[in-house]
Symmetry: C2
Subunit: 156 residues, 2 copies
DNA sequence: CGTATCGAGGACATCCAATGTCCACGATAC
DNA sequence: GTATCGTGGACATTGGATGTCCTCGATACG
């Protein structure tokens, strides 16, 4: 089980954008340079965040990305599922229906017990992430990091 | 994020073995036929369960696998981490230290906030799985499945 | 002791998603 | 009009998951 590293990129970028929610849009180039990330690949994840309604994009010169909602209304789960998708990491293959111990389909209308246990764990995981907002993450950063100006060090 | 299907195989096999904890060992062939799984590949996962102390293996004719502990003392987490490993799905790449916004290493002795949030979610997930034992899963199976004899339909 | 049946473990092939790059296109500020 | 931006598709690369095969040691049975 492995999470895409795009999740880390997305979370850090969204938190960074939360440091100046109403400022000018920040370009993907600036965001990529901020963390030394490959720009075009980061762009893929930023696109996913736009499609999910977490970020808002602006075209043209002076364009870029900003938060689509106040950081208090964006949860870590929003960012994660925008990038990773919301599918459960456990996919039940219904092996109970196969082989010499096969259970007939008419007895398999409900998910099997194993599947239910895994689903409950996934929901606990989601609940944990849903309980943390981007605003809270920002508040928990060290003071000097929290108050950094995103655009200050962007070279020409 | 995706779990290995070996987790599903392992859970079903362990639950099956829990239906007759003190019976004769069940061979990997019988287990594979029970769910129509590829035998040699299933063997890899069974080996992992042995290495983690969940199963106990016996060599020679009449050999096979049985539970290493009573099913009340085996949790879903034990089985899952035997097969998937116990590493967190989120691996912090410390991107906060890189790029134009780089934080100096001496300020990074503690894990970053993003990493902490992800770690808490992972722990919530583990706690959920740790709260369910193999014995409980077995109890929640339909009666006719729960009482099936593992070896009954094994052909020669 | 000899043989057949079992698990352990390594070498190897295959497949697919994650990662990363590049280009054509439309939008927009100046 | 042009340069800068995001969008989206095509493409190459890579590593892990999946799956097979072979050798080895252990053991039950005669």
């Amino acid at each position: 089980m492995k999470l895409s590293q795009g999740v880390e990129w997305g979370l850090h970028c969204v938190v960074l954008l939360a440091q100046d929610p109403d400022g000018a849009p920040v370009s993907r180039r600036t965001l990529a340079q901020q963390f030394a990330l490959p720009e075009t690949y980061l762009a893929k994840h930023l696109q996913a965040l736009v499609r999910s309604g977490v970020l808002q994009a602006t075209s043209g010169p002076k364009g870029g990305f900003r938060l689509a909602r106040p950081p208090e209304e964006i949860t870590a789960l929003d960012v994660l599922e925008a990038i990773e998708g919301s599918a459960s990491p456990f996919v039940c293959q219904e092996i109970r229906q196969r082989g010499t111990g096969g259970v007939p389909p008419e007895e398999c209308r409900l998910p099997c017990t194993v599947s239910s246990v895994m689903a409950a764990a996934h929901e606990a995981w989601r609940a944990s992430l849903r309980g943390v907002t981007v605003a809270e993450i920002r508040e928990r950063l060290p003071k000097n990091v929290r108050e950094r100006d995103v655009r200050a060090t962007a070279p020409g």
